[in-house]
């Protein structure tokens, strides 16, 4: 177990010296993975998640910066010398071996005594419900079971600095997916390993991790608890990416003390005004669909809107509206039993829930 520090790490596949700014799969990054934390690395495909993971595990040597495990510089160390476990997106199993041999393989390679190996393999098989299949050939098992073996090979070593998961549940059936995710969470709670879990599925990230790291275009946009990411996204992308549907975003300009947009205006508090006034930046308002209030009559701070569509999702309803007369589209989430106006509605954006972004960055 270890605290893992990324110190000014950047990576380009073009090779050192040849890379232009755009070539970087991973832009300069400082980050600390605390010992025993459960982290999710969340971002769209191609954002550099896997690259970052491979830098930690040593499959890739970063073009710049250092990787430290508990103050020890491991940047130039090969994967096998780093004491780290990694599970890949598609199940990797050793075809000709039995499940038992597969699970024991990392330990056999490290020369552990046979009785230790047997004990560890037994424990891990128990954890992953593989005990019955231990003496079967791995190649004849289902994709689910194969991926469990891959997970098991990651968990079998009890001395690893961290276990890295690269979208490990992509090929798994939905109901098994849920079980395995819970299993991982359980294992984390019991053994306090440092886990880093790469995914592009926000549900997976939010349910699995204590801390979520959101990445875009090779950069870390925000690190926070699921709640922080939801309530105060530091970047419009985080707001949009987290939550289903994502944050409503409305382009606006300043006019006096108000934010003005097509279809209405709302007052901004002095604090935020002071931060953006006079700066030449693109402004956006953001509000979560669940905080948009849909009213049937005008009141203080309300904006007129047209209801385009109502979608019933069972637990709540999703209302699609256009602000003013064909203005920006707003999505609102309302309770099942809430009374909705037939056609013309009035929206209220509670000021404490409304965020302002300047050039896509949150104005706190």
């Amino acid at each position: 177990m270890a605290r893992i520090v990324l110190d000014g790490v950047a990576h380009s596949y073009a090779g050192k010296g040849k890379a232009k700014a755009d070539d970087y799969a991973l832009r300069r990054l400082d980050h600390v993975w605390e010992d025993g934390g459960a982290y999710a690395l969340l971002g769209p495909s191609g954002c550099g998640k896997t690259t970052l993971l491979n830098v930690i595990s040593g499959l890739i040597t970063p073009s710049e910066g250092r990787v430290l495990f508990d103050e020890r510089d491991v940047t130039r160390l090969a994967t096998e010398q780093r004491n780290i476990a990694q599970v890949f997106q598609f199940p990797v199993i050793y075809d000709t071996m039995t499940v038992r041999q597969n699970l024991g393989f990392p330990l056999v390679n490290r020369g552990l005594p046979a009785d230790r190996i047997a004990a560890r393999v037994g424990e891990v098989a128990e954890m992953l419900d593989l005990s019955d299949a231990l003496d079967r050939r791995a190649r004849n098992l289902s994709a689910d079971a194969k991926q469990k073996i891959s997970l098991g090979r990651g968990l079998v070593r009890d001395d690893v600095a961290a276990i890295l998961f690269d979208e490990p549940l992509t090929v798994i059936d939905p109901h098994v997916k849920w079980q395995l995710r819970r299993k991982l969470k359980e294992i984390h709670e019991r053994f306090h390993r440092t886990l880093v879990y790469v995914t592009h599925d926000q549900n997976e990230a939010l349910t699995f991790a204590d801390k979520v790291v959101v990445m875009l275009d090779g950069q870390v946009l925000q690190v926070g608890t699921p709640e922080e990411l939801f309530e105060t996204p530091s970047h419009t992308f985080v707001g949009y990416f987290i939550g289903s549907p994502g944050l409503n975003l409305i382009d606006c300009t300043l006019d006096g003390g108000d934010a003005v947009f097509r279809g209405g205006r709302i007052a901004l508090d002095d604090d935020r005004l002071a931060r953006v006034r006079g700066r030449n930046v693109a402004l956006k308002l953001g509000i979560r669909p669940r905080y948009v209030e849909v009213l049937d009559r005008a009141g203080a701070e309300t904006l007129p809107a047209q209801i385009n569509d109502v979608e019933d999702l069972g637990t709540h309803r999703l209302v699609d509206l256009a602000l003013g007369d064909g203005g920006p589209v707003i999505r609102a989430m309302v309770a099942e039993d809430a009374a909705l106006p037939a056609d013309a509605a009035f929206l209220r954006f509670p000021p404490e829930r409304t965020r302002l972004f300047a050039d896509d960055v949150l104005v706190a």
Binding site: L59, T79, E80, F88, V92, T96, N109, R137, R139, G154
Partner: protein
């Protein structure tokens, strides 16, 4: 519900039947035809039953040739398969060296068989051949026209030169098809180079190795042109392989009956051994299927 019975669709596979008939069945039946008849010329044919088969199966010269042939194929497989895998493992995987290596390797495969024979016939000659002359200069008396062992070395070396590239190319393609995650997982698991080969590369090469073994066995078991050009079956009968004997009977002596019976037996042996190889290789990993 009444099913409509209409068998006219069978006519659609008629073209395939015609094709197979002309390409395989009719020629084969012609051979079968010769193998059970004798002729004294003038278009008079006499049915002789299994007489030719009996005489062929009892023929000492054929037993010897079959032994030589098995030894030759065994040697060729024992050398070419491991050597091919080893070369494939050491080939570069990216960069400009890849096409260069592949083209250089493929060159022997493009040389016509009798040219291969001629090349090695000259190459191994003591008076003017690079190999023979060099060996002579080193004090080794190398003479493939005199010494059966030298003749064998020449013929086997020639086949290794000619056909190992095929094994290399097959294995190389098989190796390239292994997803990088397997190698990464092996590194994470701390596997040695040997363990990576044994547990990842070799199992994943099973398919191409099956093909390589079958192709190399069939070709080497039926080899004719190259040894015929180099040694003509000599010295004595030392490199007289089955095909050379067969050609001698059929073309030079025009013993069509025995030659036809021999052809059929030859064909059956090839088929039998291929089947044995195939079953053996496919069984290796599946014996444990439960």
């Amino acid at each position: 519900m009444n099913k409509v019975q209409n068998n006219r669709a069978w006519f659609l596979i008629l073209p395939v039947f015609v094709l197979v008939a002309f390409s395989a069945i009719i020629p084969l039946m012609a051979v079968v035809n010769y193998s059970v008849q004798d002729s004294f010329g003038g278009g008079v044919w006499i049915f002789v039953g299994t007489e030719w088969f009996e005489s062929v199966l009892a023929d000492e010269r054929l037993h010897d040739a079959l032994g030589r042939q098995l030894l030759f194929s065994g040697l060729v497989l024992a050398i070419q398969i491991p050597l091919g895998v080893m070369i494939a493992l050491t080939l570069p995987t990216r960069g400009w060296l890849v096409p260069l290596c592949l083209i250089v390797l493929a060159l022997p495969l493009l040389v016509p068989f009798n040219v291969v024979g001629t090349i090695w016939q000259l190459f191994a000659r003591v008076d003017i051949g690079l190999l023979g002359h060099t060996l002579a200069d080193l004090g080794i008396e190398f003479n493939y026209t005199d010494d059966p062992l030298h003749a064998w070395i020449t013929v086997v070396l020639m086949d290794v030169w000619h056909w190992t590239p095929l094994v290399v190319l097959l294995c190389y393609s098989g190796l390239r098809a292994i997803p990088p995650a397997f190698y990464q997982a092996a590194r994470i698991d701390g596997a040695s180079r040997y363990a990576t080969f044994r547990y990842i590369e070799l199992p994943k090469l099973r398919g191409v190795l099956t093909i390589a073994v079958l192709l190399r066995f069939m070709d080497s078991f039926m080899i004719f042109t190259e040894p015929f050009v180099v040694t003509g079956g000599g010295p004595g009968n030392a490199t007289n392989f089955l095909s050379i004997v067969l050609t001698n009977w059929a073309i030079e002596r025009r013993d069509l009956g025995p030659a036809a019976a021999f052809s059929i037996i030859y064909f059956l042996i090839v088929l039998l051994i291929c089947w044995m190889f195939y079953t053996a290789i496919t069984r290796i990993g599946q014996a444990d299927k439960r």
